[in-house]
Symmetry: C2
Subunit: 378 residues, 2 copies
């Protein structure tokens, strides 16, 4: 008994240090996943080495990669004619890889739907490779919403239609993908990936960096249809070629072995503990709803919501205080309650509460209560 | 006492599972580093979160990045007018980034010294961006050596001169950098990085993937002079631009936070436990010498050394058996002694023993003894 107690005590000390981390990414990870990583860090069972030391061509990593892909296919119901790639470089490298593969040398323009900071950055890189047509731009109204399909100005044909399913900085999210017509629909799903079901078959290519809902920084997941792979150009550097990466099964060179391992553990957690992506979506709606409820009841008197109601992100809740002079006090008071990383991005200001899958509801409840207390006392 | 014993027992069980891992990369890491990662995995002291969860713009990561760079600067005596970049994508992405930044749009050719598989791959990517001049090619004699300076066929001017300081697959290594003349010297140091001192000031750019001596897969370290940064072109995608990555201090987007953290721990271990890079070089010479000594004493009767004596790698020892029919038995017998991942790359065959910094001398001694026993019994 005492022996077991020691491990618990030691773990308890570490657990006591843990705060509620509302960082937009890298972000909170599921505690059971962290504990499994910790337990097996010196020697992955059966591998004889740490997961940080195993070859990317070892049987141990073969099994990790295979199960990671299988779990993702099951969670997202990915059709058989789509490939799953585990790459590096974050979403930002995808801003370039998408047009390098799909726009370079094309006569058709690529159509971009701009609903926030990340979409804009993506369009900047695309312009290096060809014509970019802006199908909708939310900048004029400060990126508070996403467009209806009827508002999209799409040309008769596009190399692809690009959108950002959830804009992390502004906190606006598409409830369903935009209507792209016949062109392949390309989605940057970085900040709402695995937070709910997605109709993969409606997309030509969908990608996400891992450091929100899917793992540590340094891993990027790309889901791409065989049809889109066939359209990819040949005049592409090897590491930037979707087709070559797909042909080599994500092992054109050494992938982020540890990142794929953590991703695998997270997919297991999503399936076995969360209960799949429908359940994840319900949790996300409930957690973000706790904060939106405060904003709605307040009615803009004390708290000012950034995103329009119909487009509110269930991952990143953005708001500010009517009295900007209270912002520092709001952050300081939150920190005293172990509620951290709630400051908004400098381009939007105010606050951003990121409540990804791994954020316990207790953390959001504590923040909700704090918001109510803070308002009452000011 | 019993409480402490429990932790030791638990750790001992994991340690007992660990084999001597001679993988060429990802490769063995220092055990004290793994233990520190494990200890702090649930909460990095002072950060309130796991290192896998902290923001790349948090004070905790500021400190990690700053110390990682400072330690590397100290270990390699990096001059002040050089930048250190922590990137992603492995050496293979550098095969492309080097010519994208330094050859694109140039009239001058880039000169490549080809001493093995990795240099050849690099030259393939460079040809996408401009003229490649092969200054030396070891393919005709099966990449068993590196050239003398007098053998290099260098044009009057080059955009840069490129070489691979250690060819992991063939096991050939430069003892000192080749004479590049006035052109910037570019080095792929992936598999001997941090195994000994390097004259950084003699290079324009030097890079290494981490998964040999410097960390887990998914991190690439680039050391580049301000002078070379000034030569870099402007027509480059943001993520692929050395200049932009340098301007943003490796945080143009989210870097591999965990990879930089492990790299930091390894630099501390190199400084405090190994005693710096001179000491690391001595250890590498001694460890590889244990195997080369077997090969030399055997004189090619049973074991056949691949690399010419003067060019032998101190990281990757390559050899084969005179009797190829004994290869499977040699691997199987080694595995019984927990000596694993010694098979050579399919392009060279035979065996490759990678004894990076973190490989204990005991592992190499055990392998040496096994080689002698195996020879004696066959």
């Amino acid at each position: 008994m005492t022996l077991t107690l020691d491990r618990q005590t030691s773990t308890q000390q570490a657990l006591n240090q843990r705060v509620f981390n509302f960082s937009p990414g890298p972000a909170v990870l599921p505690l059971p996943v962290l504990q499994e990583i910790q337990r097996d860090l010196l020697a992955l069972p059966g591998a004889g080495s740490s997961v940080l030391e195993i070859s990317h061509r070892s049987p141990a990593f073969d099994a990790i990669l295979e199960e990671a892909e299988a779990n993702l296919r099951e969670l997202l119901a990915i059709p058989a004619d789509y490939r799953v790639l585990f790459l590096q470089g974050g979403a930002s490298l995808q801003f370039s890889m998408v047009p390098i593969n799909l726009l370079r040398g094309q006569d058709l323009p690529a159509s971009y739907i701009l609903t926030g900071s990340w979409g804009r950055k993506a369009a900047v890189e695309a312009r290096r490779e060809g014509r970019v047509h802006v199908a909708w731009d939310g900048k004029a109204d400060n990126f508070v919403r996403v467009p209806d399909d009827g508002e999209l100005d799409l040309p008769p044909a596009s190399a692809y239609v690009y959108y950002t399913s959830n804009e992390t900085i502004q906190g606006v999210q598409f409830r369903r993908p935009p209507a792209a017509g016949a062109a392949p629909l390309v989605c940057d799903a970085s900040s709402d990936f695995l937070s709910g079901p997605v109709d993969v078959s409606g997309h030509g290519l969908l990608y996400a960096c891992a450091q929100k809902n899917a793992g540590p920084a340094g891993l990027t997941v790309v889901i791409v249809s065989d049809q889109v792979l066939e359209r990819c150009g040949n005049d592409v550097h090897s590491m930037l070629s979707y087709r070559l990466q797909a042909e080599k099964g994500s092992r054109l060179n050494t992938p982020n072995v540890f990142g794929v391992y953590v991703f695998l553990l997270i997919t297991r957690w999503l399936r076995d503990e969360v209960g799949g992506l429908e359940a994840a979506a319900e949790r996300a709606a409930a957690k973000s709803g706790l904060i939106y409820d405060v904003l709605d009841r307040d009615g803009g008197e004390f708290f000012v919501s950034h995103a329009a109601r119909a487009c509110r992100s269930r991952m990143n809740v953005t708001f500010r205080l009517r009295r900007a002079d209270l912002e520092d006090a709001f952050v300081a008071g939150a920190a005293e309650l172990d509620l951290v990383s709630i400051k908004g991005h400098r381009s939007v200001g105010g606050f951003r509460v990121s409540a990804y899958n791994a954020m316990p509801v207790e953390g959001v409840e504590r923040l909700r209560d704090y918001m109510l207390d803070f308002r009452a006392s000011h």
